[in-house]
Homo-oligomer: 201 residues x 2
């Protein structure tokens, strides 16, 4: 026996299809939405449509934006000699929050993973190389992909393809996070921290 | 500096307003939605509107439904002498899954909590008492509110108001959950399990 009406069941299914939302969370969200005023529910629905329809990809860095080129790519104060390659648009916001980086970005929307052909079609590595061959100002690529097998493979792939172009390819440092205890560090992190040790002063 | 366009920021804010969704989850959900096809995003948006517009409250049990009275209230096979009082529509589905209960329900959409006046306005205690005075067939109310202070207060409130009506008011048993170790049980659960002990065989 179905315990909910078809439209509620459909809403639960749609919500459960979102990343990180299980069946139980989907139930809770659906019933929260049902308990809202009509205007509030419509506001959520409209926000999805509006964000989706207004958001395009920056033709330069492939980040989500509502203007092309995006505010970062069109900012004359940004350092155009450095491009930071990230996996997702969220990573751009995370790096921007540090206020440490003043260069440009390139959003891959995925990682280099030749096994997953469908995902690879969406990865904007082609656009990165096309951009680098047309923009001569770039002299460093910082690969800021995640510290895992796919992230490292992507970094390696980019560095190999750009080997003879004179563009320096760097990778974010891997090591102990701030506030961490050496006692609790995993072997891989500790060995990376050892390999990447820096001179003091 | 805003890292996202206004429409994306608005979507993130709307998602972060949902229960159990923090800022980080809201970011992840928003970017997942942006990466969907137009049809998929529209399907989510439509599901919200459709579920919200098609869902009404059953005039009898106050549960969310698309037909009035709801399938449970209009089912001739259900035992009309028992009404199980629950806090939320989700609880109805949870109890239905046990296949142990064949009576009717009443959904409070909250709990008895005289301090929170706004929430109390939404609680359907009034409708419960109106229903009980018009339906003479009911002889037992099972209060299945959560096992906490508000849930217990609600149970007590209902039992006091129905004291002289001849309707029996019961409460779900409180005790050790199945599969639990006595060693790890909290004091309150254990003392409830002791008080509610049942004879074997």
């Amino acid at each position: 026996m179905a315990h909910y009406s078809p439209s509620v069941e459909n809403l639960i299914n749609k919500l459960a299809g979102l990343p990180g939302i299980g069946r139980k969370s989907a139930h809770r969200l659906a019933f929260h939405i049902l308990s809202l005023d009509k205007e509030e529910a419509k506001a959520i629905s409209d926000a999805i449509i509006e964000a989706h329809s207004k958001t395009i990809r920056c033709s330069c860095c492939q980040n989500f934006t509502d203007s092309d080129p995006c505010p970062i790519c069109s900012d004359p104060k940004r350092d155009r000699s450095t491009v930071c390659v990230v996996e997702s648009p969220r990573d751009v916001a995370t790096i921007e929050r540090t206020h440490e980086y003043r260069g440009l970005y390139h959003v891959l929307h995925g990682v280099y993973n030749p096994i997953d052909v469908r995902a690879m079609e969406r990865v904007t590595l082609k656009q990165l190389f096309a951009r680098l061959s047309s923009e001569s100002s770039v002299n460093e690529i910082i690969v800021a992909t995640n510290q895992n097998i796919e992230g490292n493979a992507t970094a390696l792939y980019i560095s190999r393809l750009l080997k003879d172009t004179g563009i320096k390819v760097t990778r974010l440092a891997s090591g102990l996070p701030m506030g961490s205890d050496i006692e609790y560090a995993d072997d891989l992190t500790l060995s990376n921290a050892l390999k990447g040790r820096v001179e003091i002063g």
